[in-house]
Symmetry: C2
Subunit: 236 residues, 2 copies
DNA sequence: ATCGCGTATTATGCATACAAACCAATTTCT
DNA sequence: AGAAATTGGTTTGTATGCATAATACGCGAT
């Protein structure tokens, strides 16, 4: 955009550094990431002015992003007092696991019925990639592929609503950074469970798959709840 | 999902008559109602200027409400082109019913385990109130109590996440105004099913309750899908 | 009459200005 | 001294202005 003499290019705050300006809708994505990644800890008050600086936008799009994420449950709106990052409570996390259990069970059933061979092949590929990182002891990378597998499983059901609902809950739970608390034994066991899950999926054994998924998620919940209780017992 | 929008609603006695100005957070509620009630039909373009007039607010809070509801899935954001009320497609509705089926099943299980006797008593009261309207042939009133019962069931599980997730999906599905298409036979059958559901809940018979709920929801889906296909086959 | 194309109008996206609510610290009154 | 009130500064909530992208319109050509 070429600026004339009269318009001294009144663009938003800063743009001092390179840091390319975010597209509007990217403000939502970026803010969500900041929350899910833990860059903004649970309970943190969202000061609009500060956020504007970090996201390099004016208040209007930032406030809109906050509203969007409030609906998603990642932030809580407090009338006349702005918003805070939704605190993580043990109760809420347990609730989410229970709901995710029902959704994963459904996903297993639908995946056996509807997934294409290509879908399953891709999950298989992700599985082996995950094994690579397990072998190397790369927890963060392992975790990323682990997440991918679970997401692909719900996606390949063909039920978009199911996938979206699952993804939203998963985003919440991920904020509890239980990853670090994974013992070697539990890690190895989780990998073994994934091996079985993959096999059941490849055989399209719906009943078995559902049982495995339920068990796997139950174990995961135990790890998370332990991690939560070791951190502050209260609101995080 | 879980919003902390507590609106104090401290309006003076003065503004009873003259179309009281909406509190800010009420803009969201009002707009949601307009969509769920069908006042804004699926597919409708949301013109900000027009909405501002109807909601008696400036663009900023209205836009924030739109973003909030976009996250809920009730409106779709189209970059540089504003927003439209999310169209209802047969595919999406069927997907939602499948997910709601899993959630209601879970709710039945949890309700049998966790509901207080008072919770069950209240559902029972709602049930009889529903019967009153069925006897009188008052479909709209019947339907309201019907909804209440299903909502109370998921609420009395004690799992807030479950209730919120269910409520969101339910709001979407309600936009398909299948109510009018309920035949007398189906109506009577639905009431009979509710009778059985109530009995299973009172006996806290988890297995039976889950089966009944699943069956009931399946029948409901058939009605809705028929209604959908009778309306425009395409996007509504 | 229909299709293309350039211009006018409108709507959206973003930034900012203004008003009301909130918070904190000091001051005043009991 | 302690409680209540006051006041300055900060933050949120709402309204409005400006720039750009999208749409609608009208004219000319085929």
């Amino acid at each position: 955009m070429e600026q004339t003499l009269e318009t001294p290019d009144v663009r938003g705050p800063a743009e001092a550094a390179a840091e390319p300006r975010l597209l509007a809708s990217e403000v939502i994505e970026r803010l969500r990431d900041m929350i899910v990644q833990g860059e903004l800890a649970p309970g943190t008050k969202l000061n609009e002015r500060v956020l504007c600086e970090r996201l390099r936008h004016s208040r209007t799009p930032v406030r809109e992003a906050i509203k969007y994420l409030a609906s998603e449950g990642l932030v809580e709106l407090v009338p006349n007092r702005g918003a805070i990052v939704t605190p993580i409570t043990a109760v809420a996390v347990r609730e989410m696991f229970v709901v995710m259990g029902a959704l994963e069970g459904l996903a297993g059933e639908l995946a056996c019925a509807n997934a294409s061979d290509a879908d399953i092949a891709e999950i298989r590929a992700l599985h082996y990639q995950m094994l690579v990182h397990h072998a190397r002891g790369e927890l963060a990378e392992y975790f990323r592929y682990n997440q991918q597998i679970h997401l692909r499983l719900v996606e390949c059901t063909g039920n978009v609503t199911l996938a979206n609902t699952y993804r939203a809950l998963n985003g919440h739970v991920r904020r509890a950074r239980y990853m670090a608390n994974l013992s070697r034994e539990r890690w190895d066991a989780a990998v073994a469970e994934h091996e079985e899950i993959l096999n059941a999926l490849m055989r399209r054994d719906s009943v078995k798959l559902q049982a495995l998924l339920r068990n796997h998620l139950g174990n995961k919940m135990v790890v998370v709840m332990e991690a939560l209780s070791k951190q502050s017992t209260e609101i995080m």
